[in-house]
């Protein structure tokens, strides 16, 4: 730390440069840029950057660097409004940082300002919004480092990559497990997901750019979750009481607990049989008691592991105020973000997967919902629109609400568009209730077709939002009032690791159907099911209900005697009747992904181990509905 001796020199020099910068900016504002003036400013910024960097004052160096780049652009002839304000803010922030150097604090965050400086340099609206793209490779992906670099190369062709974690050099040297995250700016961030998908890629997540923390690591313990007090002593003590655990380790733990639960059930069954065998023998009773205790411990353990996987939704919500600010600025709107219930906890995997859908909804609210300030004023509304993001825990899951006080969904226009696109006839559209007309926004044809804005780019993809949420076993509802606003409510499960499911048997095989997707079970005689080619349907309370057997839906040979029970499952607003032989009961099952050997099977979302040790496939209701309705379309064409 030889350099520390030079600190007083650095500080007094910094004061001089800051003074020079301030005077220069004021002069710039009065007289406009001239080469000599700009060159002087540039030198000050450059010197500050160099010395701050040498002394390890990263934030100061970073900000000075961004300032330098702006001045460079100015020197190259780039002009624009509001520059003086931005530069003065920069000088003020540099001053605050200099103050922190002398008193040892670390209060000032420069990231937002640095990004604004960059945005100015690059001409503002031309480039997209910053988003984080997290790519997870499959376990069996060969040459992960090379694959990651190849994907980054693709990313670079479609977006401006600002930052990669782990850094590219580290990846090239093989320091990559399965995930990397890139901070990019793209005009169409939603399109990136599809672009990067491939057989070696497990998942691609796109979410608003957030603080660059590595979320693969969860902090356990209450102290780490909430905001820590500023007192460094408290922080130090609190950190001693928490450990950081790799999330993959938690996943493995969860898996093991799942097995334990299965063993517990087997123990209980054995104890029961033993009891019947030797009646009064005390040993059987003792075994039953031990098995019962094992059961309670296993349940508690399961609950604790589930809890350890939970994160407050703040991890996601905290990114939105900034995201909305940027969106609003580009759309020329004023939007105030209200965030509620950020302490609500959700399973990490759920939080990861709702980022995309929430971004869609928020974008829509800003682009299409909230009116421009002038219009709002004319309507007697506050000029700033209000966007509310809220999370509430309910008994069975979590509600996430995205609500705006904008113009609401214009159902007449939605009807018009649907007719224009040939989705329905004008008469059918006119017959739709308001509620049904609103539902049209989830139709794939409609939601991707025409709503083009600068900010949203091509399409808005409400169907993708619904599909994304349904894939998690959740649902999306929309309420809207013309002129008053729109509210989307996402119902999400607390966790993806355990679901309540209906157990059924079909052709000797057992299947689990998540209860969230099951509407009812009805008995329908075989002669009440009508055929149209390969498509079958019955009439349930006056409405046609497509009917499929599980075997048909999964493309397996049909059983000889199909059952008479129909399990009505839903996907979106559509439903189908699933033909099953028997209903075996319902219960909580531990979801396990299908091995990579089987890969993705359409209609099946995973597998579970039943109490007797047998494996049951978990059916995916919304995928089954999709598969069944494809048959329906084919039947209508044919």
């Amino acid at each position: 730390m030889q350099l520390q001796r030079l600190l007083p020199v650095f500080l007094s020099e910094a004061d001089e440069h800051l003074q020079a910068l301030e005077e220069g900016v004021l002069q710039l504002e009065r007289q406009g840029p001239n080469p000599e003036l700009v060159a002087g400013l540039f030198r000050s910024a450059h010197t500050l950057k160099g010395s701050a960097g040498a002394l390890g004052f990263q934030r100061m160096a970073e900000l000075a660097h961004a300032l330098e780049e702006v001045l460079e652009a100015l020197r190259a002839g780039r002009g624009g409004d509001g520059l003086a304000d931005l530069l003065l803010e920069c000088v003020d922030t540099l001053r605050a940082l200099r103050q922190e150097v002398s008193d040892g604090g670390e209060r000032t965050d420069v990231q937002a300002l640095v990004e604004r400086l960059r945005a100015w340099k690059e001409g503002g609206a031309e480039d997209g919004l910053p988003v984080d793209v997290r790519v997870r490779l499959r376990e069996d992906c060969p040459m992960r480092a090379a694959r990651a670099l190849a994907l980054l190369r693709v990313l670079r062709e479609h977006a401006e990559v600002e930052q990669v974690a782990p850094p590219e050099e580290a990846i090239a040297q093989g320091q990559l497990e399965l995930e990397f995250t890139a901070r990019v700016r793209a005009r169409e961030p939603e399109a990136l997901q599809e672009l990067l998908a491939g057989p070696e890629v497990e998942s691609v997540r796109v979410m608003p750019a957030g603080e660059a923390r590595d979320e693969r690591w969860l902090d356990l313990g209450p102290q780490a979750r909430g905001k820590l007090p500023d007192d460094p002593e408290l922080t130090r003590r609190a950190s001693l009481r928490t450990v950081r655990v790799d999330v993959e380790r938690l996943d493995r733990l969860m898996n093991l607990v799942g097995e334990l639960v299965v063993d517990r059930i087997r123990f209980q069954q054995i104890a029961e049989r033993l009891r019947r065998l030797d009646g009064a023998n005390g040993l059987a009773q003792e075994l039953a008691e031990a098995a019962g205790h094992l059961g309670r411990v296993a349940s508690d353990l399961q609950a604790q592991v589930l809890k350890a996987r939970m994160l407050p939704i703040e991890h996601l919500f905290s990114r939105f105020p900034r995201y909305v600010r940027d969106l609003a600025q580009r759309a020329g709107k004023r939007v105030e973000v209200v965030v509620e219930g950020q302490d609500t906890e959700l399973d990490r995997s759920v939080i990861e997967q709702i980022g995309g859908p929430l971004m869609h909804l928020v974008r829509n609210a800003v682009d299409h919902g909230i009116e421009p300030p002038e219009e709002r004023q004319r309507l007697g509304k506050p000029t700033a629109g209000r966007l509310r993001l809220a999370a509430v825990q309910e008994e069975e899951g979590i509600l996430v609400v995205v609500e705006d006080d904008g113009r609401g969904i214009d159902t007449d226009r939605v009807r018009e568009k649907a007719v224009g696109l040939g989705l329905l006839t004008a008469e059918a559209a006119a017959r739709l209730s308001e509620e049904e007309a609103v539902e049209l926004i989830f139709h794939p044809g409609l939601s991707t077709a025409s709503q083009v804005t600068d900010v949203s780019g091509r399409g808005v993809g409400m169907d993708a939002v619904r599909a994304g949420v349904q894939a998690l076993g959740g649902s999306v509802e929309v309420e809207t009032q013309r002129g008053r606003g729109t509210r989307f409510t996402l119902r999400l499960p607390l966790t993806l690791a355990i679901v309540r499911a209906l157990l059924v048997s079909c052709g000797g095989e057992r299947y689990a159907i998540p209860l969230a997707g099951v509407q009812e079970i009805v008995e329908v005689p075989a002669d009440r099911v009508h055929r149209l080619g390969s498509y079958r349907a019955t009439v349930l309370r006056g409405n046609a209900l497509p009917v499929v057997s599980v075997h048909e839906a999964l493309g397996l040979p049909a059983p000889e005697n199909p059952g008479r029970l129909l399990c009505v499952v839903t996907g979106g607003r559509r439903r189908v009747g699933l033909w099953v032989d028997r209903v075996l009961g319902e219960g909580e099952i531990v979801v396990k992904p299908l091995g990579s050997y089987l890969g993705q099977v359409d209609g099946v979302s995973g597998a579970t181990i039943l109490g007797d040790g047998r494996v049951a496939l978990i059916l995916d209701p919304s995928a089954l509905v999709r598969l069944a309705l494809r048959e329906e379309e084919l039947a209508h064409v044919g």
Binding site: M143, A145, A150, R153, V154, G198, P199
Partner: protein
């Protein structure tokens, strides 16, 4: 118009296999080369849309050939065909500008997919 491909590999067998996989998927193999130097020369003559490039070859290896071809035509699209355990070389090739890679032994569909991605 089907995409035109240059297949580079020192093993006749691999070239034949790649040719067959590509022809079956509607690509047109317009030239073949069995080493890096030849690859550069064939590239200049045939100006293919995409190249499949083996790594270990006599005369000039695949990574060097990638650099050489991209020096002459920065828009060249090259897919590396690598044996297992050559990750460092594949990384080098991608840093040099190769678009994608497949690892031997590969599924024909993987190769075709990689080529389609490179052409995108």
């Amino acid at each position: 118009m089907s995409a035109r491909v240059l297949v580079v590999d020192d093993a006749l067998f691999m070239r034949a296999m790649i040719r067959e996989a590509l022809t079956n998927s509607g690509f047109q193999v317009v030239a073949e080369a069995s080493n890096g130097e030849e690859a550069v020369a064939r590239y200049e003559e045939a100006k293919p849309d995409v190249v499949t490039m083996d790594i270990t070859m006599p005369q000039m290896d695949g990574v060097q050939a990638v650099r050489e071809i991209l020096r002459r035509d920065p828009s060249a699209r090259i897919v590396m065909v690598s044996a297992m355990g050559q990750q460092a070389l594949v990384v080098e090739a991608i840093q040099a500008g190769a678009r994608d890679f497949v690892v031997k032994p590969f599924d024909q569909t993987r190769l075709v997919e990689a080529i389609r991605r490179a052409l995108r």
